[in-house]
Amino acid sequence: MFWRSKRLWREPGSLKSSYDAVIIGGGLHGLATAYFLARHHGMTDIAVIEKNYIGFGGAGRNTAIVRANQRTQENLPLYKEALELWPVLTRELDFNLMFYNCGNLNLAHSDAAIKAMRLQVASAQYSGIDIKLVDPRECKELIPALDISDRPRYPVFGGMFHPPGGIVRHDAVVWGLARGASKCGVDIHQNTEVTGIAVSGGRVVGVDTGRGRIHTSRVLNSAGGYSAAISSGMLGIRLPISVLTIQAMVTQPLKPFLDHVVSSGMYHCYANQTLKGEVATGAHMDPWPNYTTQCTGHYIKHQAEALSELLPCLRGVKFMRHWAGLADMTPDMAPIMDGNDHIRGYYMNCGWGYFGFKSSTVAGKYMARFISTGECPDILKPFALNRFEQHRLMGETAALVSYSADN
């Protein structure tokens, strides 16, 4: 038998008229929160409501890169714990998440970039994260195919190498979490759209779906690219988010030549060689907000130019597949994790942009604690929505690249 006839998770059939908590979105963050609620907090009467199929959003479209080399003291511990969770969850879920800790090399193309990296490396080391600065020769030792001559438009000045990062199989995370949550009793309703959130007396009382009303006192908005539209459209809570299409593509399979994830902010390009041999590469976001998820020739050309400058041996290699997803970007490149602020029982976990795969399990872990106790865990407190009002934006934006929608 080369196929499974049995689904990994239970199809719950009819939608119950009430649940202890309803989670909007069967993406990484929604499924992770459901799993931790059911498995670690004993809250098993939970519905995950997914408009399409689980993994339809960023969960199934990301380039699967994981790392912990963030910039700020608030973000570093969260991402560090996330990285440490992959082997733990692989065991706990009894599901091979294919964590491949091949290490990440970030390139610098100017003295200013090296200085910015020095600060980033020191901050990460201070949080106990394994990372170091490397010179161009060391970059070449790590990635022999890299062109460190002065021929490229942006020559390599050095970089930072982060050995514990790498790649995790993103579909496996979706399936593993869905199976784990389902085993504990969570109902995953696919092909069901949330159309409204009912509030009465400042509290959540229900969620409206295409299949009827669910009575509940707790709802989590983890709808990825659609979370900001849901928040403003259904509750009138406008968020500091811009939604942008972001594209990725893979080349034809090649013999192994690239042992690490390599990225360059200057070239707006990152790449790794998958276990199948394809070079998976991610591009920058569209420079204007849109929900199209359209692929454009603009980025094929851009990726081809960037990759053939950085890794000249890729010249003439063909792209095989090209896809796009949505990135919900905040102005400080840090997520919004909050709850019970304007409305009791309304929780949100969004603004994860193009970096919310690596952190999804740890975000789910702490959001589950938040939802089950009603108390915000200390580690999540800096991520509250009111930071924007209080001018406490986090410094997660790269010094050299501005990711704002209007740049």
């Binding site: 459209g233 420079p287 204007w288």
Partner: protein, 91 residues
Amino acid sequence: MALLINCPVCGKRNGYEFRYGGEDKGPRPDDESLSQASWCDYVHNNNCVAGIQKEWWFHKDGCGAWFTIYRDTRTNLEADTSADTSIPEVK
């Protein structure tokens, strides 16, 4: 599919000639009644409509004009809403 934007001066041009200038949020709140919340709302917050929105553009590689258009964020197509009053003005 590329984005085409209709500049009031230059006509239909490739979207990459322009710089997106944000959702149209109406006039800047006046200093008198300004609060942390209203300033934050004006500076940072968006409606993020999956549909037609009124928005600002700047013809940076062209004539330099700033202007507003209506665009469907699901298709990137400009919408002619000159006669349509059902599109709510963003507050």
